[in-house]
Structure formats: C-alpha cells, structure tokens
Symmetry: C2
Subunit: 196 residues, 2 copies
Amino acid sequence: MAKIKTENNGTKKAVIVQHAAMLFKSKSYSASSMRDLAERVGVEAPSLYNHIGSKSELLQAICFKVGNTFIEQIEQITNSQYSIVHKIETIIRFHISMMAENFDEIYVANHEWKHLKEPYLSDFLNIRRNYEKSLVQLITTGIENKELQPINPYVAVLTILSAVRGLEFWQRNKKNISKQELENHMVNLLLNGIVK
Amino acid sequence: MAKIKTENNGTKKAVIVQHAAMLFKSKSYSASSMRDLAERVGVEAPSLYNHIGSKSELLQAICFKVGNTFIEQIEQITNSQYSIVHKIETIIRFHISMMAENFDEIYVANHEWKHLKEPYLSDFLNIRRNYEKSLVQLITTGIENKELQPINPYVAVLTILSAVRGLEFWQRNKKNISKQELENHMVNLLLNGIVK
DNA sequence: TTTAAAAACTAATAAGCGTTAGTTTTGCAG
DNA sequence: CTGCAAAACTAACGCTTATTAGTTTTTAAA
C-alpha cells in the first residue's frame, strides 16, 4: 500500500495523530480500533507502529497539545495590561476560535481524557485545574476592582467554560449562525445576561 | 452467589440499570464490560441475561429515562402561566436538581448517547432537538414580550444548556459550594451577566 | 548501480469481548 | 415435603482487540 502522505513540514506521526483525533471524536477512544485508524490513514494497522508507540500515546499527544495551547494563552493574557473585562472577553473569543479551528482535538481532549493512563492522567488534570485557578483569580480581581458584579467567581468560571465548551453543538449546525455573530452574542450574553 | 437484592418496589432490571449508569459514567460505555457490571451487581456475567436483553439495552434504558423526564418537565412548564423569566428560572433550577439527584444517569445520557443503535439513536436525538426547540420558542416569546434583551435565542439556549450541563464539574467539588448557593448564583449570572 | 535505512507488508499471539447453551441451585406455593 | 419456576452457575463460542515478529518493498544517498 502507499506510504503515508505528509503535508509540508509535517511528520508522519502528526498525520496519524490528526486522523486519530477525527476518529476518536466520531467513535470515542475505546470504540476506535487501530484497524479503523489504519484504514483512514491508508495503511495496514501494524505499519502504524513504525511511527507511534501505542494507541494511548495518540490520546496523550492530542490531550497535551490542547492543554498546552490553553496554558500558553492564559499566561500571555494574565501578563498583559488590559482591563479584566477585556481579558475575559479575549479568553472567550480565543476559546471560540480554537473550537472553530481545532475542533477534533479539543473535542477529544474534553471527552476522552478519562482514558489517559497514569501519570498522564494526573498531569492533564493538573493542567486543567491550574487553568481554572487562573480564571478564578482573574474574576476575583475583577470583583475587587469593581469591574464585575459581586458574583461567585467559581460559578462564573464554571459557567463561562461550560458555555464555550457547549459550542461543540454549534459545530453540528454551522449553517444557523456565523462564527463572528456567535462570538459577539455569546460574549455579550455572558457579560450582560439575558434579562432586560 | 447471592441473588440480586432489590429495593422496595424495584425490579432487578432497575438495579442492574442503576449499576450500569455508575459503571458507564466512570469508565465510558465502550470500555465497560458485562463482566465489570456483573461484579458490581454481585453476580456472574451470564446471569445478567436473565433480566436484560443486551448491553445496549442498558444504555437505551438510561438515555430514555433521562430524555423523557426532561420532556415531561418542559411540557408542564410550557403550559403554566408564569412569566417567561420565571419559567426559565424554573427550568434552570430543575436541571440543577436533576444533576444533583440523578447524576449518573444524566452524565451517561449526555456523554454516551452516541453509542445507541438505530432506531434509538435517531429517537434520542429527536427528543433532544425538540427540547431545544421548546426552549428557543420560550426565549423568543420573552424577547417579543420585552421581558428579555434582544439576544439571539439560539445562542441563549446553547449557553443555558451548556452551563447547567457543566455542573458535572461541580459534582466533583461538592465541598466548595452548596447546591442552594450554586442554584442562586447560576440563575443570577445567566439572567443578569457578570459585568457591573 | 549498490547499499542501507525507512516503512510497508503478512501472519500470528494472547487476552478480552458479548452472548448462548446447558445445568444446578434457590426459594416459594401447594 | 414436593414440585416448579426463577435465577444463579460453568463452560464455551466466535469475534475483535492491541501489539509483536519476521519479511519484503520502497526510497534515497553513495
């Protein structure tokens, strides 16, 4: 059978990981077989092992690629000099962009991290916990600043993260509303509520 | 081995379904084996088949129990005479209560419905679509009433449903905040936003 | 054109899967 | 106590799984 085709500057492992993300998204990690994956890549299953170590290594690659991207972004925002409201708005918009451009990987990281093996499972949960802590800190500062209402910061973070995560449902109905519209409406709704 | 113990007025199938919900929640449907389930129930795997038809029947039972509960509730609310804001508030509180009291089943219905077989998969998606449509209708009416801001109803529904669904993360940190506090904060945040 | 490494292949392994068949045990009604 | 149905058991089936071993083909540099 033909060799694995790589994009410019991409390794063959990267090609496999990308196909794995699509497969794991549509069938879930446990229900996806290496034979399924091989078929999508265009190769026999054992050939995959010339490029990767194991099935679970693929899940690790996906989850940590996503995790590290978000950690980088929150550090950058935290160190910037914008107002708290503007920082939160930027973060929400970043989530929505990531959701639009890296949907497969984000979906898998959100839904399949449970199947990571130790110590990767603990590492991943630590990354997520730290990300949430950074957001709670941001909102707490905003309340002290009187930029934000005296809400519960934990509930606010939970709500914001859940809302952007819920955009996976939008992905299935892209026709209904454009990304730009969606961004503006969601930012407005979370910041200002729905009641007149 | 001992027989399956039933609660008062409960069938043995119901006991198995409840254990299945806990198992599927913690390991996912595909990674859960009938031998895993049998061990939790306290019986050998083939004995389960005296009470159930198949593994996928268990998933069906869980998903439709949840789906029907929410459909019943939305019909009841829709036919009531409260204001739109009060109706939305009631629905949010209902979701939070269900999340607190039937967490395992709701989690499984939200995460594992993908593994339903036809025609159950289509039926389930129809239920969910209808539920969302009812909510969109409710919000649209609220905007016409001028009870609500002229937001995009679809985005509002997406945000509300995602927020309550995100309460699964709260389930893991119950200590941090009580259900009552959480309800009040989340309702307030969704209705009124976070900006001062 | 030769050579060596990279990457494909086929065949096979042991383990685990959902489920069925056939048998034995259990618990209650007569 | 007897008999019968419900519900447990053991053994086994055919299939799928991730992965390994060993071999052949492909690619590109010398």
